[in-house]
Chain length 162, copies 4
């Protein structure tokens, strides 16, 4: 495994451009954070997520530095990555208020894309709209580093016993 | 840059578990495919996307091998990753039928999650519902390797001049 | 009550235009169908819904004659009325396949409006996407009398015990 | 036409129950308001809509008295009627801030149904999320007379020249 990893990195270094290798540093730094147990999930590490949870206000905020790695062919952040951060922010906000042993799974997600995702970072906020016995309805917003809102989402999450 | 990359990999190898390193091989193999110009976008490489476009039927199909890297805390594929593959499949289907110089950007995305994303791979299909002069409405479906449908999506895309 | 009704009708006849009174005939004919037990719900009567249910194919089709009564200020059928017919079509398709004593309630409804609702009538079709133990995901389409698709919807319905 | 109207009303009075005739009073009173030019659209009259527009805050509020006429087979307000009031509230809020000669048409509507629509009335509020050059993204909420939120909606509206 180790040899395979070194071989892969050598290939990348040999053929990759400056831009490629800068992107690869970003990926490996993120991966290392997961290995260092800063995160429980690889995705959270790869995206370098920074979370703030406010249990009293029932809100969650996640900030992610933007990087070429997550761009689509128009050189803006891929809508699916915005969806990933929004979904994580909404799920985290819900999990923060559920009792021990319960979790939330996305049942339905609706996203309005408003402006191109560019700049240094993306900040997502989630706010609970309705907390029922079986489902939670929640909204999420994504902002660029210049303060412009780039997406507005709502989701229905099912409450499950883990 | 090269030293930094080697150092990062050594750190990962030193502290990472067998599972971590298997996941890292998956990530680096995907990254290398982008460097090898098999893909234009890093995400497509990281996800090891395999595309089939049928211009006559106006459909697109993308298959992605599943991997721990893309799982959420419930050990199923993250809903945002399913969204990413669906969005790419839908966008690719639309781009395939647009004239030279035009592209599609997601304006609105709606996803119903139906079953947990587990198994070997995820296969997404897109089908155009309405092709207007300014917008395209399209549906997308995601299937597991056992054939079970795990998500159904619809999206509105804006047609833009690149 | 009877006097009040006669008084209201006399007022309408006195002040109403030809267009108003034609619209009122449409409304009263629909209302009478409910009183004649052709329908169980007033809305279904007011909209003069014609239903076709195919239990084998798990589909439902509802056709509604268009009328000024249901138009918005742009002289096209109100998006909420299209939503009403789509929601009824989807709910009816689900109820048709549920066991005795069970019913379906809309949890989430998503509609893409594609073309203006004009012409003689609106025909809606629903098709089940996923039939789970607690929820059903379903799609619905609305067509004008000239065959043009004017809306595409998906919905999540909860299965409840009546 | 007048004879036909009288004949229809007589039929309704002859065969209708007390509940039917109370519902019919509600319908005719609403229709009369349109004839009396209190409203420009029949639907707005039939639903007895009361509008409050705050151009400074860019919000709109519409209240509708509930009535058997608008119920589904579960004896709660039909989801499509909630959609109709939400759509009208959102469209009215947008039209209130557009320049003379411009109007808004619904392109996409997404509704989360949260609680059954029962009680005396339904109050809907709309708030603009994003005002672009071609589209407006807006949210809408529906409340029962006991204050409970029964639905949360978002919509994309296209700005058109009338």
């Amino acid at each position: 495994m180790k040899d395979r990893l070194h071989q892969l990195l050598d290939n990348c270094i040999e053929k990759g451009s400056e831009v490629d290798l800068t992107a690869l540093v970003h990926v490996l730094e993120g991966f290392q954070k997961k290995i260092d147990k800063e995160y429980t999930q690889y995705i959270d590490g790869l995206l370098h997520m920074e979370r703030k949870i406010d249990r009293d206000k029932k809100t969650c905020e996640i900030t992610v530095p933007l990087n070429d790695v997550w761009n689509n062919s128009l050189a803006i952040v891929h809508g699916g990555i915005t969806a990933t951060i929004l979904d994580t922010t909404m799920g985290t906000a819900i999990n923060a208020i559920l009792p021990e042993g319960y979790g939330a799974v996305t049942n339905q997600l609706n996203i309005h894309y408003i402006a191109p995702g560019i700049g240094d970072s993306l900040r997502c906020k989630a706010e609970i709209i309705h907390h029922g016995s079986k489902t939670v309805v929640i909204s999420g917003e994504a902002y660029r580093s210049d303060g412009k809102k780039i997406a507005y989402a709502t989701g229905t999450f099912f409450i499950i016993q883990k």
